[in-house]
Amino acid sequence: MGGTELLQFGLAGLKNGSIYALVALGFTLVYAATGAINFAQGEFYMLGGMLSVWAYADLGLPLPLAAVTGVAATAVLGGVFELAAIRPRKDGDPLAIIIITVGGSMVLSSMARHLFGPTERPLPAFSGGGSVKVFGASLEVQSVWILGMTALAVAALWYLYNRTGLGRAMRACAVNRDAARIVGVDTRLMVTVSFVLAATLGALAGLAVTPLTQTVFDVGPSVGIKGFAAAILGGLGNPIAAVVGGLVLGMLESLSIAFISSTYKDAIALIVLLSVLFLRPQGILGRWRREKV
Protein backbone atom coordinates (compact mmCIF):
# COMPACT_ATOMS: atom_id res chain seq x y z
CA MET A 1 0.00 0.00 0.00
CA GLY A 2 1.36 3.40 -0.97
CA GLY A 3 1.89 6.32 1.35
CA THR A 4 -0.83 8.36 -0.29
CA GLU A 5 -3.33 5.58 0.11
CA LEU A 6 -2.38 5.17 3.74
CA LEU A 7 -2.80 8.89 4.26
CA GLN A 8 -6.21 8.63 2.68
CA PHE A 9 -7.23 6.04 5.25
CA GLY A 10 -5.64 8.12 7.98
CA LEU A 11 -7.70 11.17 7.05
CA ALA A 12 -10.88 9.10 7.01
CA GLY A 13 -9.95 7.76 10.43
CA LEU A 14 -9.34 11.27 11.72
CA LYS A 15 -12.71 12.45 10.40
CA ASN A 16 -14.69 9.57 11.91
CA GLY A 17 -12.55 9.72 15.03
CA SER A 18 -13.40 13.35 15.66
CA ILE A 19 -17.10 12.51 15.40
CA TYR A 20 -16.63 9.72 17.93
CA ALA A 21 -14.67 12.13 20.09
CA LEU A 22 -17.56 14.59 20.26
CA VAL A 23 -20.03 11.85 21.13
CA ALA A 24 -17.58 10.37 23.66
CA LEU A 25 -17.20 13.78 25.31
CA GLY A 26 -20.96 13.78 25.82
CA PHE A 27 -20.78 10.42 27.61
CA THR A 28 -17.90 11.61 29.72
CA LEU A 29 -19.50 14.87 30.84
CA VAL A 30 -22.68 13.15 32.00
CA TYR A 31 -20.69 10.39 33.66
CA ALA A 32 -18.60 12.95 35.52
CA ALA A 33 -21.70 14.66 36.88
CA THR A 34 -23.85 11.63 37.66
CA GLY A 35 -21.72 8.48 37.62
CA ALA A 36 -24.14 7.12 35.00
CA ILE A 37 -23.95 6.31 31.29
CA ASN A 38 -26.37 8.34 29.21
CA PHE A 39 -27.69 5.95 26.59
CA ALA A 40 -29.64 8.77 24.96
CA GLN A 41 -26.35 10.33 23.82
CA GLY A 42 -26.72 8.85 20.32
CA GLU A 43 -30.17 10.45 20.01
CA PHE A 44 -28.67 13.87 20.61
CA TYR A 45 -26.43 13.12 17.62
CA MET A 46 -29.47 12.13 15.56
CA LEU A 47 -31.42 15.21 16.69
CA GLY A 48 -28.59 17.59 15.83
CA GLY A 49 -28.72 16.48 12.21
CA MET A 50 -32.46 15.99 12.05
CA LEU A 51 -33.48 19.29 13.60
CA SER A 52 -31.03 21.13 11.34
CA VAL A 53 -32.59 19.42 8.31
CA TRP A 54 -36.00 20.36 9.64
CA ALA A 55 -35.00 24.00 10.12
CA TYR A 56 -33.42 24.11 6.67
CA ALA A 57 -35.86 22.12 4.54
CA ASP A 58 -39.14 22.50 6.42
CA LEU A 59 -38.78 25.97 7.92
CA GLY A 60 -36.76 27.28 4.99
CA LEU A 61 -34.07 28.94 7.09
CA PRO A 62 -30.70 29.71 5.46
CA LEU A 63 -28.20 26.91 6.13
CA PRO A 64 -26.04 28.66 8.78
CA LEU A 65 -29.12 29.71 10.74
CA ALA A 66 -30.67 26.27 10.33
CA ALA A 67 -27.50 24.68 11.70
CA VAL A 68 -27.46 26.95 14.75
CA THR A 69 -31.17 26.30 15.27
CA GLY A 70 -30.68 22.53 15.08
CA VAL A 71 -27.87 22.50 17.62
CA ALA A 72 -29.52 25.00 19.95
CA ALA A 73 -32.83 23.12 19.86
CA THR A 74 -31.02 19.88 20.70
CA ALA A 75 -29.20 21.59 23.56
CA VAL A 76 -32.50 22.78 24.97
CA LEU A 77 -33.97 19.29 24.56
CA GLY A 78 -30.98 17.90 26.45
CA GLY A 79 -31.76 20.21 29.36
CA VAL A 80 -35.48 19.46 29.23
CA PHE A 81 -34.74 15.74 29.13
CA GLU A 82 -32.68 16.04 32.30
CA LEU A 83 -35.24 18.19 34.11
CA ALA A 84 -38.19 16.03 33.12
CA ALA A 85 -36.73 12.54 33.30
CA ILE A 86 -33.56 12.50 35.40
CA ARG A 87 -34.09 15.13 38.09
CA PRO A 88 -37.32 13.66 39.49
CA ARG A 89 -35.23 10.66 40.49
CA LYS A 90 -34.08 12.44 43.65
CA ASP A 91 -31.52 9.97 44.95
CA GLY A 92 -29.53 10.18 41.69
CA ASP A 93 -28.97 6.42 41.65
CA PRO A 94 -26.75 5.83 38.59
CA LEU A 95 -28.44 2.54 37.68
CA ALA A 96 -31.86 4.20 37.67
CA ILE A 97 -30.48 7.01 35.53
CA ILE A 98 -29.05 4.53 33.03
CA ILE A 99 -32.43 2.83 32.69
CA ILE A 100 -34.19 6.18 32.30
CA THR A 101 -31.81 7.16 29.50
CA VAL A 102 -32.40 3.85 27.69
CA GLY A 103 -36.14 4.54 27.79
CA GLY A 104 -35.60 8.18 26.87
CA SER A 105 -33.55 7.15 23.87
CA MET A 106 -36.43 5.03 22.55
CA VAL A 107 -38.91 7.85 23.11
CA LEU A 108 -36.70 10.37 21.31
CA SER A 109 -36.14 8.19 18.26
CA SER A 110 -39.80 7.23 17.90
CA MET A 111 -40.76 10.86 18.20
CA ALA A 112 -38.24 11.71 15.49
CA ARG A 113 -39.70 8.99 13.28
CA HIS A 114 -43.20 10.28 13.90
CA LEU A 115 -42.31 13.94 13.24
CA PHE A 116 -39.71 13.65 10.48
CA GLY A 117 -40.58 10.39 8.77
CA PRO A 118 -38.89 7.03 8.32
CA THR A 119 -36.67 7.97 5.35
CA GLU A 120 -33.20 9.44 5.12
CA ARG A 121 -33.04 13.19 4.80
CA PRO A 122 -30.20 15.19 3.22
CA LEU A 123 -28.52 18.46 4.14
CA PRO A 124 -26.25 20.45 1.77
CA ALA A 125 -22.54 20.64 2.53
CA PHE A 126 -21.62 23.80 4.45
CA SER A 127 -19.46 25.23 1.70
CA GLY A 128 -19.97 23.25 -1.47
CA GLY A 129 -19.26 19.63 -2.26
CA GLY A 130 -15.65 19.79 -3.44
CA SER A 131 -12.56 18.31 -1.89
CA VAL A 132 -9.06 19.51 -1.11
CA LYS A 133 -5.75 17.77 -1.71
CA VAL A 134 -3.61 16.93 1.30
CA PHE A 135 -0.21 15.58 0.20
CA GLY A 136 -1.88 13.80 -2.68
CA ALA A 137 -4.77 12.39 -0.67
CA SER A 138 -8.15 13.99 -1.09
CA LEU A 139 -10.37 15.25 1.70
CA GLU A 140 -13.95 16.48 1.27
CA VAL A 141 -14.39 20.11 2.25
CA GLN A 142 -17.14 18.98 4.60
CA SER A 143 -14.58 16.82 6.42
CA VAL A 144 -12.46 19.90 6.93
CA TRP A 145 -15.53 21.42 8.57
CA ILE A 146 -15.88 18.35 10.75
CA LEU A 147 -12.26 18.54 11.91
CA GLY A 148 -12.47 22.29 12.45
CA MET A 149 -15.71 22.13 14.40
CA THR A 150 -14.38 19.33 16.59
CA ALA A 151 -11.19 21.24 17.31
CA LEU A 152 -13.19 24.33 18.19
CA ALA A 153 -15.62 22.43 20.39
CA VAL A 154 -12.78 20.71 22.26
CA ALA A 155 -10.97 24.01 22.75
CA ALA A 156 -14.15 25.68 24.01
CA LEU A 157 -14.80 22.82 26.40
CA TRP A 158 -11.22 22.90 27.64
CA TYR A 159 -11.59 26.60 28.34
CA LEU A 160 -14.88 26.08 30.13
CA TYR A 161 -13.50 23.28 32.28
CA ASN A 162 -10.20 24.84 33.21
CA ARG A 163 -10.72 28.57 33.11
CA THR A 164 -14.21 29.25 34.40
CA GLY A 165 -15.96 28.99 37.73
CA LEU A 166 -18.66 26.85 36.20
CA GLY A 167 -16.07 24.40 34.87
CA ARG A 168 -14.33 24.29 38.23
CA ALA A 169 -17.63 23.50 39.90
CA MET A 170 -18.30 20.76 37.35
CA ARG A 171 -14.92 19.18 38.04
CA ALA A 172 -15.49 19.44 41.78
CA CYS A 173 -18.79 17.67 41.34
CA ALA A 174 -17.04 14.92 39.37
CA VAL A 175 -14.44 14.40 42.07
CA ASN A 176 -16.80 14.28 45.04
CA ARG A 177 -20.44 15.30 45.02
CA ASP A 178 -20.85 15.76 48.75
CA ALA A 179 -17.67 17.82 48.95
CA ALA A 180 -18.98 19.98 46.11
CA ARG A 181 -22.27 20.48 47.92
CA ILE A 182 -20.69 21.58 51.19
CA VAL A 183 -18.72 24.31 49.42
CA GLY A 184 -21.96 25.51 47.86
CA VAL A 185 -22.00 23.90 44.41
CA ASP A 186 -25.55 23.22 43.22
CA THR A 187 -24.84 19.68 42.04
CA ARG A 188 -28.27 19.21 40.48
CA LEU A 189 -27.67 22.27 38.34
CA MET A 190 -24.33 20.74 37.31
CA VAL A 191 -26.17 17.61 36.15
CA THR A 192 -28.49 19.73 34.01
CA VAL A 193 -25.53 21.64 32.60
CA SER A 194 -23.76 18.38 31.77
CA PHE A 195 -26.79 17.16 29.81
CA VAL A 196 -27.04 20.46 27.92
CA LEU A 197 -23.35 20.27 27.03
CA ALA A 198 -23.56 16.59 26.09
CA ALA A 199 -26.53 17.32 23.84
CA THR A 200 -24.69 20.24 22.25
CA LEU A 201 -21.61 18.15 21.48
CA GLY A 202 -23.68 15.26 20.13
CA ALA A 203 -25.71 17.67 18.02
CA LEU A 204 -22.61 19.29 16.58
CA ALA A 205 -21.35 15.87 15.50
CA GLY A 206 -24.69 14.92 13.95
CA LEU A 207 -24.96 18.24 12.18
CA ALA A 208 -21.45 18.09 10.76
CA VAL A 209 -21.87 14.56 9.40
CA THR A 210 -25.33 14.86 7.87
CA PRO A 211 -24.18 16.53 4.60
CA LEU A 212 -21.97 13.47 3.99
CA THR A 213 -24.26 10.66 5.12
CA GLN A 214 -27.81 12.07 5.34
CA THR A 215 -29.69 11.35 8.54
CA VAL A 216 -32.65 9.32 9.72
CA PHE A 217 -34.46 8.68 12.99
CA ASP A 218 -32.48 5.54 13.86
CA VAL A 219 -28.84 6.63 13.42
CA GLY A 220 -28.47 7.27 17.14
CA PRO A 221 -27.72 3.90 18.71
CA SER A 222 -24.92 2.86 16.34
CA VAL A 223 -23.05 6.14 16.77
CA GLY A 224 -23.86 6.01 20.48
CA ILE A 225 -22.15 2.66 20.88
CA LYS A 226 -19.05 3.96 19.09
CA GLY A 227 -18.91 7.09 21.21
CA PHE A 228 -19.35 4.92 24.27
CA ALA A 229 -16.54 2.60 23.16
CA ALA A 230 -14.35 5.65 22.56
CA ALA A 231 -15.12 7.04 26.02
CA ILE A 232 -14.34 3.69 27.65
CA LEU A 233 -11.22 3.29 25.53
CA GLY A 234 -9.85 6.65 26.65
CA GLY A 235 -10.97 6.38 30.26
CA LEU A 236 -14.48 7.30 31.26
CA GLY A 237 -14.99 10.63 32.94
CA ASN A 238 -11.85 12.28 31.62
CA PRO A 239 -12.49 14.75 28.76
CA ILE A 240 -9.02 14.58 27.23
CA ALA A 241 -9.24 10.80 27.28
CA ALA A 242 -12.57 10.94 25.45
CA VAL A 243 -10.96 12.86 22.60
CA VAL A 244 -7.98 10.51 22.49
CA GLY A 245 -10.30 7.50 22.64
CA GLY A 246 -12.41 8.86 19.77
CA LEU A 247 -9.41 9.50 17.53
CA VAL A 248 -7.83 6.13 18.31
CA LEU A 249 -11.10 4.33 17.56
CA GLY A 250 -11.49 6.19 14.24
CA MET A 251 -7.94 5.25 13.29
CA LEU A 252 -8.40 1.62 14.28
CA GLU A 253 -11.50 1.41 12.10
CA SER A 254 -9.64 2.92 9.16
CA LEU A 255 -6.72 0.54 9.63
CA SER A 256 -9.07 -2.40 9.73
CA ILE A 257 -10.56 -1.32 6.42
CA ALA A 258 -7.11 -0.77 4.94
CA PHE A 259 -5.57 -4.04 6.07
CA ILE A 260 -8.43 -6.45 6.69
CA SER A 261 -11.77 -5.64 5.10
CA SER A 262 -14.48 -3.05 5.42
CA THR A 263 -16.80 -5.82 6.56
CA TYR A 264 -15.40 -5.62 10.06
CA LYS A 265 -15.39 -1.85 10.45
CA ASP A 266 -18.42 -1.69 12.71
CA ALA A 267 -17.26 -4.64 14.80
CA ILE A 268 -14.09 -2.78 15.77
CA ALA A 269 -15.92 -0.63 18.30
CA LEU A 270 -17.32 -3.70 20.02
CA ILE A 271 -13.99 -5.50 19.98
CA VAL A 272 -12.35 -2.41 21.44
CA LEU A 273 -15.08 -2.09 24.04
CA LEU A 274 -14.75 -5.68 25.19
CA SER A 275 -10.94 -5.72 25.13
CA VAL A 276 -10.75 -2.57 27.21
CA LEU A 277 -13.28 -3.85 29.71
CA PHE A 278 -11.34 -7.10 30.10
CA LEU A 279 -7.77 -5.86 29.85
CA ARG A 280 -7.68 -2.29 31.06
CA PRO A 281 -10.99 -1.18 32.56
CA GLN A 282 -9.60 2.24 33.45
CA GLY A 283 -8.94 3.04 29.76
CA ILE A 284 -5.78 4.31 28.08
CA LEU A 285 -5.42 7.48 30.09
CA GLY A 286 -7.18 6.32 33.22
CA ARG A 287 -10.51 7.17 34.65
CA TRP A 288 -11.16 10.22 36.76
CA ARG A 289 -11.41 8.58 40.13
CA ARG A 290 -14.47 9.37 42.12
CA GLU A 291 -12.86 9.69 45.52
CA LYS A 292 -14.44 8.04 48.46
CA VAL A 293 -13.36 10.10 51.42
Binding site: R168, R181, V183, G184
Partner: protein
Protein backbone atom coordinates in the same frame (compact mmCIF):
# COMPACT_ATOMS: atom_id res chain seq x y z
CA UNK B 1 -25.59 33.54 77.68
CA UNK B 2 -28.92 31.88 77.04
CA UNK B 3 -30.54 34.94 75.53
CA UNK B 4 -32.04 34.23 72.11
CA UNK B 5 -30.17 36.98 70.30
CA UNK B 6 -26.85 35.47 71.31
CA UNK B 7 -27.69 32.08 69.91
CA UNK B 8 -25.91 31.07 66.73
CA UNK B 9 -27.19 27.53 66.46
CA UNK B 10 -30.06 25.92 68.33
CA UNK B 11 -30.86 22.26 67.81
CA UNK B 12 -34.06 20.96 69.37
CA UNK B 13 -35.15 17.33 69.54
CA UNK B 14 -33.33 16.45 66.35
CA UNK B 15 -33.80 12.98 64.87
CA UNK B 16 -31.93 11.80 61.77
CA UNK B 17 -30.36 8.72 60.28
CA UNK B 18 -29.59 6.79 57.16
CA UNK B 19 -32.54 5.23 55.38
CA UNK B 20 -34.57 3.46 58.03
CA UNK B 21 -31.72 3.38 60.54
CA UNK B 22 -32.20 6.12 63.09
CA UNK B 23 -28.90 7.38 64.48
CA UNK B 24 -29.81 10.63 66.23
CA UNK B 25 -32.57 10.23 68.79
CA UNK B 26 -33.57 13.66 69.97
CA UNK B 27 -30.56 15.93 70.19
CA UNK B 28 -30.70 19.26 72.01
CA UNK B 29 -27.69 21.47 71.57
CA UNK B 30 -26.92 25.16 71.52
CA UNK B 31 -23.98 27.18 70.28
CA UNK B 32 -23.79 30.82 71.29
CA UNK B 33 -22.30 33.57 69.15
CA UNK B 34 -18.53 33.61 69.62
CA UNK B 35 -18.44 30.32 71.50
CA UNK B 36 -16.28 27.32 70.85
CA UNK B 37 -18.32 24.23 71.70
CA UNK B 38 -16.94 20.71 71.67
CA UNK B 39 -18.84 17.55 70.94
CA UNK B 40 -17.15 14.45 72.30
CA UNK B 41 -18.19 10.83 72.20
CA UNK B 42 -16.99 7.40 71.21
CA UNK B 43 -16.91 5.86 67.75
CA UNK B 44 -20.34 5.61 66.22
CA UNK B 45 -21.99 7.88 68.79
CA UNK B 46 -23.42 9.96 65.95
CA UNK B 47 -21.23 13.07 66.05
CA UNK B 48 -20.57 13.24 62.32
CA UNK B 49 -24.19 12.38 61.64
CA UNK B 50 -25.25 15.37 63.73
CA UNK B 51 -23.05 17.74 61.73
CA UNK B 52 -24.34 16.28 58.47
CA UNK B 53 -27.93 16.69 59.59
CA UNK B 54 -27.30 20.31 60.59
CA UNK B 55 -25.94 21.36 57.20
CA UNK B 56 -28.43 19.23 55.30
CA UNK B 57 -26.28 16.44 53.86
CA UNK B 58 -28.83 14.09 55.41
CA UNK B 59 -32.42 15.15 56.06
CA UNK B 60 -33.63 15.27 59.67
CA UNK B 61 -36.75 13.17 60.33
CA UNK B 62 -37.94 15.22 63.31
CA UNK B 63 -36.90 18.19 65.40
CA UNK B 64 -35.68 21.64 64.51
CA UNK B 65 -32.47 23.38 63.61
CA UNK B 66 -32.37 27.14 63.98
CA UNK B 67 -29.49 29.26 62.77
CA UNK B 68 -29.36 32.88 63.94
CA UNK B 69 -33.03 32.63 64.79
CA UNK B 70 -34.08 31.29 61.42
CA UNK B 71 -35.53 27.81 61.01
CA UNK B 72 -33.20 25.95 58.63
CA UNK B 73 -34.36 22.40 59.30
CA UNK B 74 -33.79 20.28 56.19
CA UNK B 75 -31.88 23.02 54.34
CA UNK B 76 -29.85 21.99 51.26
CA UNK B 77 -26.08 22.07 51.96
CA UNK B 78 -25.45 24.56 49.17
CA UNK B 79 -27.88 26.98 50.84
CA UNK B 80 -26.38 26.30 54.26
CA UNK B 81 -22.95 27.48 53.07
CA UNK B 82 -24.49 30.64 51.68
CA UNK B 83 -26.07 31.27 55.08
CA UNK B 84 -22.66 30.89 56.75
CA UNK B 85 -22.76 27.31 58.04
CA UNK B 86 -19.53 25.80 56.83
CA UNK B 87 -18.26 22.30 57.55
CA UNK B 88 -14.79 20.85 57.57
CA UNK B 89 -15.86 17.25 57.08
CA UNK B 90 -14.46 14.11 58.61
CA UNK B 91 -11.75 12.81 56.29
CA UNK B 92 -11.39 16.34 54.82
CA UNK B 93 -13.11 15.63 51.50
CA UNK B 94 -10.70 17.74 49.48
CA UNK B 95 -10.80 17.87 45.70
CA UNK B 96 -7.74 15.64 45.33
CA UNK B 97 -6.90 16.04 41.63
CA UNK B 98 -7.34 19.80 41.80
CA UNK B 99 -4.71 22.28 42.94
CA UNK B 100 -4.52 23.85 46.38
CA UNK B 101 -5.53 27.14 44.85
CA UNK B 102 -8.52 25.62 43.08
CA UNK B 103 -9.61 23.99 46.32
CA UNK B 104 -9.48 27.38 48.01
CA UNK B 105 -11.33 29.03 45.11
CA UNK B 106 -14.01 26.38 45.41
CA UNK B 107 -14.23 27.15 49.10
CA UNK B 108 -15.45 30.60 48.12
CA UNK B 109 -17.86 29.23 45.52
CA UNK B 110 -20.92 30.21 47.53
CA UNK B 111 -19.87 33.84 47.51
CA UNK B 112 -20.04 34.17 43.74
CA UNK B 113 -17.64 36.35 41.78
CA UNK B 114 -15.77 38.49 44.30
CA UNK B 115 -12.22 39.56 44.91
CA UNK B 116 -10.57 36.87 47.02
CA UNK B 117 -7.15 38.48 47.51
CA UNK B 118 -7.77 39.24 51.16
CA UNK B 119 -9.12 35.77 51.82
CA UNK B 120 -6.05 34.10 50.32
CA UNK B 121 -3.79 36.32 52.39
CA UNK B 122 -5.70 35.38 55.48
CA UNK B 123 -5.46 31.64 54.83
CA UNK B 124 -1.79 31.81 53.88
CA UNK B 125 -1.05 33.81 56.99
CA UNK B 126 -2.76 31.17 59.11
CA UNK B 127 -1.14 28.28 57.21
CA UNK B 128 2.01 29.59 55.47
CA UNK B 129 2.87 26.17 54.08
CA UNK B 130 -0.16 26.31 51.78
CA UNK B 131 1.22 29.41 50.04
CA UNK B 132 4.17 27.36 48.76
CA UNK B 133 1.92 24.53 47.62
CA UNK B 134 -0.62 26.56 45.65
CA UNK B 135 -0.09 24.86 42.31
CA UNK B 136 0.26 21.36 43.71
CA UNK B 137 -2.70 19.04 43.55
CA UNK B 138 -4.34 18.55 46.92
CA UNK B 139 -3.77 14.80 46.86
CA UNK B 140 0.00 15.32 46.94
CA UNK B 141 -0.13 17.17 50.25
CA UNK B 142 0.81 15.53 53.54
CA UNK B 143 -1.99 14.66 55.95
CA UNK B 144 -1.36 17.74 58.06
CA UNK B 145 -1.24 20.02 55.04
CA UNK B 146 -4.47 18.49 53.78
CA UNK B 147 -6.16 19.26 57.08
CA UNK B 148 -4.89 22.83 56.89
CA UNK B 149 -6.26 23.08 53.36
CA UNK B 150 -9.60 21.72 54.52
CA UNK B 151 -9.80 24.40 57.21
CA UNK B 152 -8.54 27.02 54.76
CA UNK B 153 -11.15 26.01 52.21
CA UNK B 154 -13.87 26.42 54.80
CA UNK B 155 -12.56 29.85 55.82
CA UNK B 156 -12.78 30.99 52.19
CA UNK B 157 -16.55 30.83 52.55
CA UNK B 158 -16.36 33.41 55.40
CA UNK B 159 -18.22 31.16 57.84
CA UNK B 160 -20.39 32.48 60.61
CA UNK B 161 -20.32 29.05 62.21
CA UNK B 162 -17.50 26.63 61.55
CA UNK B 163 -18.31 22.95 62.00
CA UNK B 164 -15.09 20.99 62.44
CA UNK B 165 -15.20 17.20 62.33
CA UNK B 166 -12.14 15.61 63.96
CA UNK B 167 -9.43 17.92 62.62
CA UNK B 168 -6.79 15.95 64.54
CA UNK B 169 -7.65 12.62 62.94
CA UNK B 170 -4.55 10.71 61.90
CA UNK B 171 -2.11 13.54 62.54
CA UNK B 172 1.19 13.52 64.43
CA UNK B 173 1.14 15.44 67.75
CA UNK B 174 3.20 18.31 66.34
CA UNK B 175 0.71 18.85 63.52
CA UNK B 176 -2.24 18.56 65.88
CA UNK B 177 -0.58 21.35 67.84
CA UNK B 178 -0.38 23.49 64.72
CA UNK B 179 -4.01 22.90 63.83
CA UNK B 180 -5.17 23.75 67.32
CA UNK B 181 -2.95 26.83 67.42
CA UNK B 182 -4.81 27.98 64.31
CA UNK B 183 -8.14 27.20 65.94
CA UNK B 184 -7.12 29.24 68.98
CA UNK B 185 -6.42 32.16 66.71
CA UNK B 186 -9.80 31.85 65.07
CA UNK B 187 -11.33 31.64 68.52
CA UNK B 188 -9.57 34.78 69.70
CA UNK B 189 -10.83 36.60 66.63
CA UNK B 190 -14.36 35.80 67.68
CA UNK B 191 -15.15 32.91 65.36
CA UNK B 192 -17.92 30.59 66.45
CA UNK B 193 -16.93 26.95 66.26
CA UNK B 194 -18.61 23.61 66.85
CA UNK B 195 -15.80 21.10 67.21
CA UNK B 196 -16.07 17.32 67.09
CA UNK B 197 -13.16 15.49 68.65
CA UNK B 198 -12.21 12.06 69.92
CA UNK B 199 -9.42 13.50 72.01
CA UNK B 200 -11.66 14.99 74.66
CA UNK B 201 -8.95 16.48 76.81
CA UNK B 202 -7.37 18.32 73.92
CA UNK B 203 -10.69 19.57 72.58
CA UNK B 204 -12.09 20.71 75.92
CA UNK B 205 -8.93 22.66 76.66
CA UNK B 206 -9.60 24.74 73.57
CA UNK B 207 -13.32 25.18 74.15
CA UNK B 208 -15.82 27.12 76.23
CA UNK B 209 -18.38 24.38 76.61
CA UNK B 210 -18.88 20.77 75.68
CA UNK B 211 -21.46 18.08 75.06
CA UNK B 212 -20.90 14.37 75.46
CA UNK B 213 -22.76 12.19 72.98
CA UNK B 214 -23.63 8.57 73.56
CA UNK B 215 -25.56 6.35 71.12
CA UNK B 216 -27.44 9.09 69.41
CA UNK B 217 -28.24 11.26 72.39
CA UNK B 218 -26.63 13.90 74.57
CA UNK B 219 -25.40 12.23 77.75
CA UNK B 220 -23.79 15.20 79.43
CA UNK B 221 -23.37 18.90 78.88
CA UNK B 222 -21.42 21.56 80.69
CA UNK B 223 -18.61 24.05 80.70
CA UNK B 224 -15.30 22.76 79.46
CA UNK B 225 -13.81 22.96 82.93
CA UNK B 226 -16.70 21.07 84.51
CA UNK B 227 -16.47 18.32 81.93
CA UNK B 228 -12.72 18.04 82.35
CA UNK B 229 -13.31 17.58 86.06
CA UNK B 230 -16.28 15.24 85.69
CA UNK B 231 -15.57 11.74 86.94
CA UNK B 232 -17.53 9.96 84.19
CA UNK B 233 -15.89 11.99 81.48
CA UNK B 234 -12.49 11.40 83.01
CA UNK B 235 -13.09 7.70 83.18
CA UNK B 236 -14.52 7.15 79.76
CA UNK B 237 -13.06 9.82 77.54
CA UNK B 238 -9.92 11.03 79.22
CA UNK B 239 -8.63 7.66 80.31
CA UNK B 240 -7.75 8.85 83.82
CA UNK B 241 -9.77 8.29 86.93
CA UNK B 242 -8.09 10.28 89.67
CA UNK B 243 -6.41 13.44 90.26
CA UNK B 244 -5.17 16.52 88.54
CA UNK B 245 -2.07 15.10 86.87
CA UNK B 246 -1.75 16.30 83.30
CA UNK B 247 -0.09 14.17 80.70
CA UNK B 248 0.09 16.40 77.64
Amino acid sequence: MSSETDTMLAIEGLHAGYGRVEVLRGIDLRVGVGEVVTLIGGNGAGKSTLLKAVIGLIPPSAGRVRFLGEDITGIQPERAVKAGLVMVPEGRMLFGPMTVRENLELGAHSRGKTDLTEDYERVFELFPVLADRQDQSASTLSGGEQQMLAVGRALMARPRLLLLDEPSLGLAPKLIGEIFAALDRLRSEGHTILLVEQDARLALRHSDRGYVMRTGGIALAGSADDLLADDDVRLIYLGTWHGGEETT
